[in-house]
Symmetry: C2
Subunit: 344 residues, 2 copies
């Protein structure tokens, strides 16, 4: 476990200066005599040379790693986003530092700070923090930022937004077209703009149809985590079923919650989708793995990650005309958890 070779070691062994070594090893395109170049390469290989990015980074002040901040990769939706970012990053020679904030604003700020200390020059963030001081500080330091999933009201920040309102509207509308009149909406806490916008879409569709909305909102204060969203779906379903008359269709705030809705319904012997239809939101791949396969509104997670990464790298490469905003449209994924409403 001896010390790794540096360009100095190579220089010494090859009888050249460190400058020359650096020139050939970094593919700088700087002219070096062919014989010398080959010799340096040979010696470097012999010495098992591995370039030290830290030295390089300190010198060039550019890190080639981008920070990704999401609530949690335990939700496959965000896992896909991160995965998309990572793929695109790798193709461009970048690495990724992923951070899970667990919906905790303090943790989000801590992570952003750590990322800054590590000299990240680019950041992709699904921010759930109320404030944005941490983002402004980052931007002030010249860090390029791409906000995904959650819109961030801030100048000089690139956005990949998603039309949540249209998504909520699309879901409700679809249910209405299938003949449903009593459509319940099972919502998480409405503490994020994205969630409120889905609700708005649902509300608009119901109002247009002259129907009474039926909303069940999750209680606050539950710990965030893998199974929480599922359990919330079960709980809200119980609440919705107490209504008189009960809904013939339930639209859930996201797919994980929809799984909970389905589970609770199945547990009660309700036939799916004949008795009650269920609609999700997100379009995670697991939707097609349950029974009945989940009809849902898809938000392109993986593609969103790739797109965000591409945009960020464009910004990093100083492309002034790089696109700084995009808004993704929802798409309906018709599977089998929604049926026509039974004639009354």
């Amino acid at each position: 476990m001896k010390k790794p070779a540096t360009i100095r070691d190579i220089a010494r062994a090859a009888n050249v200066s460190t400058a020359t070594v650096s020139r050939v090893l970094s593919n700088s395109g700087y002219p070096v005599r062919a014989a010398v170049r080959e010799n340096v390469l040979r010696v470097a290989a012999e010495l098992n040379y591995i370039p030290n990015m830290v030295g390089k980074q300190l010198k060039k002040n550019t890190s080639h790693t981008i920070g990704v901040v999401v609530p949690t990769i335990a939700n496959p939706f965000y896992a896909s986003v991160v995965f998309g970012v990572e793929e695109e990053a790798r193709l461009n020679g970048y690495g990724v530092m992923a951070c899970n904030t667990l919906q905790d604003p303090a943790l989000e700020e801590e992570y952003v700070r750590t990322l800054l200390e590590k000299q990240v020059k680019g950041l992709i963030i699904a921010s759930i923090a109320g404030g944005k001081a941490h983002l402004e500080r980052a931007a002030g330091l010249g860090v390029r930022i791409v906000a995904v999933d959650q819109y961030v009201e801030m100048d000089g920040i690139a956005q990949i937004d998603f039309d949540y309102r249209a998504g909520g509207y699309m879901a409700a509308k679809y249910l209405l077209e299938r003949g449903h009149r009593r459509i319940g909406y099972a919502a998480f806490r409405l503490d994020r703009p994205s969630r409120r916008r889905i609700l708005e879409g649902y509300l608009d569709a119901m109002r247009e149809a002259g129907l009474e909305p039926l909303v069940a909102e999750a209680d606050a204060g539950e710990r965030y985590g893998a199974g929480y969203e599922f359990d919330t779906g079960m709980k809200l379903t119980r609440r919705l079923l107490e209504c008189d008359p009960p809904p013939t269709a339930i639209f859930a705030g996201n797919d994980l919650m929809a799984f909970g809705v389905i589970q609770e319904l199945a547990r009660r012997g309700v036939r799916l989708p004949e008795d009650v239809s269920v609609m999700g939101f997100d379009g995670i791949e697991f939707g097609r793995m349950i029974h009945p396969p989940l009809t849902t509104v898809r938000q392109p997670d993986y593609e969103m990650g790739k797109m965000a990464c591409r945009m960020l790298i464009g910004l990093l490469h100083g492309a002034e005309h790089a696109p700084r905003a995009a808004v993704l449209r929802p798409a309906l994924v018709e599977r089998a958890s929604v049926a026509d409403a039974a004639a009354e």
Copy 2:
């Protein structure tokens, strides 16, 4: 977007030397007059100072970020492992660089190399590469390595192993105890030791019972990805069902595949679990979200990540007596996808 402040800027503004600034800002415990200390702190805050880890790292040759290499976080199993690692890392002031190899040995080697260039001192890896030259090179450089999920035959490497054989045995045994005699095993390609060991466990249990094994192995060459495992489950189920007589229970290589098995069975109108029982492997959280909730053999993913990270940090802190090996035991998770075999 002016240049970030350095300790030199602070030193100048506070009329002290950079040495003093460094001493107070790095909490070195080195004696500094209280008044001076407070002044430095004040000036640092005023200047919005953010320590540059790159400089620190170059100086101290210690990176505080650990590399994590897994097949893909698109599989919730590995997502949980990474999540566990990250949580534990954060608690200890470490950051995590996660890399998805997509089961591609070349990619795995590339990632390990990149990690080395970034001067990671610790590595947690679920290696699927045939060779181990890249790991030996890393170890030779003094990098501490913890192998998880996949056993790696190599000196000086810490292991968190899992008793796959016992898991396979446990699954088959459970099915046997429930009265099943024709138990099919739906396997991925048997190109990894872990998978072969699950098979062995199954085979042992069948042999003990004097029963004929019934194995369907996935074809090679399919692209690895999120839905692949699910689709494989469906396909292998079709193959298993062609047997005469068909199995009354199917044991799947992992939970995702079990979802595919269930889906294919449901699609054919087979009643679950009355007609055919299904058993998974891994114990991902989604198992309880499908219908019927999946009975499975659990491998503690999240805990494994935490444990690996703890072990690694112990090694990094030079704890010579740090545990260098652990073998986790499978646990049966009884849910509802397995029923007693119908009397014949």
